[in-house]
């Protein structure tokens, strides 16, 4: 077996932040599943089997023998990603049991019923953008507050607590903070979430967290409920915020595509699906093998080996479609993608995320039909190396 080569499996093409690095397309063509070294801020550099084809990605992500949660360690400090209640730390029956407690909130019917609430939040952010004036940062004023306020509604965060809640959420997602700052922030976050859980224990609110306490409170510890709240905050927040910012940036750079989103309401659902496929903000998904098995004919993955799925390049696999998947085409029939993952862990909140995107993006471009980058010559400040792709700042004018 050749020595594994260092390949940042989250790498994007130089100068084209939406495109996978050329090296990812190269290994996609290889017959054998390659072992690569993956640089990771959480785990240091580790060896992993690289999954880059669409069909392999689906097989790997839906295979029970590949497990989640290998970053979980009870001996390490409690963090948002290292605590009970977080679905990402569970597998098999434990995962299913916990997930079923939450799925009632995310049915198609329930998510549709949330539309007026989401529209109200989007309207308020558009007014805030107008008020902030020319040069306002779309990330700060629009993309980030929308999912935060939606999750506040779902968790039942009282209005007077929202500023503090949002500030802690922002710190929790800020990659420029120190580990110590993160630990302190998480303590504050946990303390707040504990008061919220206690309030719901006293009188369960008419929202997601209240519903979980009402229906399953006897089966769950306070610790687990705090973890569930934190998980929903993080999972429902950063990815949707990133999708809103990155979609706006991408569409501003592709005015013909933007015009379709703005002017053709019947094209919006398909356009959102195309943006999800193309942007894939959660760029990679890691797993670990619980036993030896074959993913493809003759390709053995050994127990304990790590596997990393590149969502970014799997969504562009030329063998999965007769269309050119490197082209952004918001009007094409939706192409299957693994942006929300696949298998039992497929994103719990995906229908909510879609609804937020479907409401917010057309509304933005209709309210400000002349929306443009403040400085047309300025390069957009993309966040290309973080685990979740996004845009750091997007100053706009109209």
């Amino acid at each position: 077996m050749p020595e594994p080569k260092v390949l940042p499996i989250a790498a994007r093409a130089a100068g084209c932040p939406f495109d996978p690095a050329a090296g990812l397309y190269e290994i996609q063509k290889e017959d054998a599943l390659p072992r690569v070294k993956v640089p990771s801020p959480l785990l240091g550099e580790f060896d992993a089997v690289a999954i880059t084809r669409y069909e392999d990605a689906k097989s790997a992500l839906s295979d029970d023998r590949l497990q989640m949660g290998f970053v979980f360690d009870p001996d390490q400090p409690r963090t948002m990603l290292n605590q009970p209640g977080n679905l990402l730390n569970y597998n098999g029956a434990d995962h299913s049991r916990l997930r079923r407690m939450l799925t009632g909130t995310f049915t198609i019917k329930r998510v549709r019923s949330l539309r007026p609430m989401i529209e109200g939040i989007v309207e308020a952010r558009l007014a805030a953008l107008e008020e902030a004036g020319q040069g306002a940062d779309l990330v700060t004023v629009f993309s980030t507050p929308i999912p935060t306020q939606v999750i506040c509604e779902l968790l039942g965060v009282p209005y007077e607590d929202r500023d503090d809640f949002q500030r802690r959420a922002k710190v929790g997602l800020d990659v420029n903070t120190t580990f110590e700052e993160q630990i302190q922030n998480l303590k504050d976050m946990d303390a707040y979430m504990s008061t919220l859980v206690a309030a719901h224990r006293e009188e369960p609110g008419d929202n997601l967290l209240g519903g979980v306490v009402r229906d399953f409170g006897a089966e769950l510890s306070d610790d687990e409920l705090v973890g569930i709240g934190n998980m929903l905050l993080i999972a429902g927040h950063e990815t949707t915020a990133s999708m809103l910012s990155a979609s706006a940036a991408l569409l501003l750079e592709n005015p013909d595509q933007l015009a379709i989103m703005r002017d053709e309401p019947e094209a919006v659902d398909g356009a959102i699906e195309e943006l999800l496929r193309y942007i894939a903000p959660a760029t990679i998904m890691p797993r670990q093998a619980a036993e030896d098995f074959c993913l493809r004919d003759g390709e053995v993955i050994k127990q304990g080996e790590r596997v990393v799925v590149s969502i970014l390049v799997a969504n562009r696999d030329p063998n999965s479609s007769d269309r050119d998947l490197d082209v952004l085409d918001v009007r094409r029939p939706p192409q299957p993608h693994v942006t929300f993952g696949y298998g039992a862990h497929q994103c719990l909140g995906q229908q909510l995320a879609r609804m937020e995107l479907r409401v917010a993006l057309p509304a933005l471009f209709n309210r400000f039909p002349g929306l443009r980058l403040l400085d047309q010559d300025q390069k957009i400040d993309y966040r290309t190396t973080a685990l979740v792709f996004g845009v750091n700042k997007l100053p706009v004018a109209w």
Partner: protein
Amino acid sequence: MQVEIDEPRCVAAGHCVVAAPEVFDQRDDDGVVVLLDANPPDDEHEHVREAALLCPAAAIIVRDRGGAP
């Protein structure tokens, strides 16, 4: 066409309800798929196949009568 559901596998992603709302629904309390029509009419077949294709948990089983896939 004969449709079956492997209920314990369902992860309530909701794709089936979007693809074929005449054939699939979701239980209110846990979002688990509800089969509305196990023998959907011809004009639903394409939607049902799409639902089965998109289901991340492979919880929808489609059998064609007369053996044709």
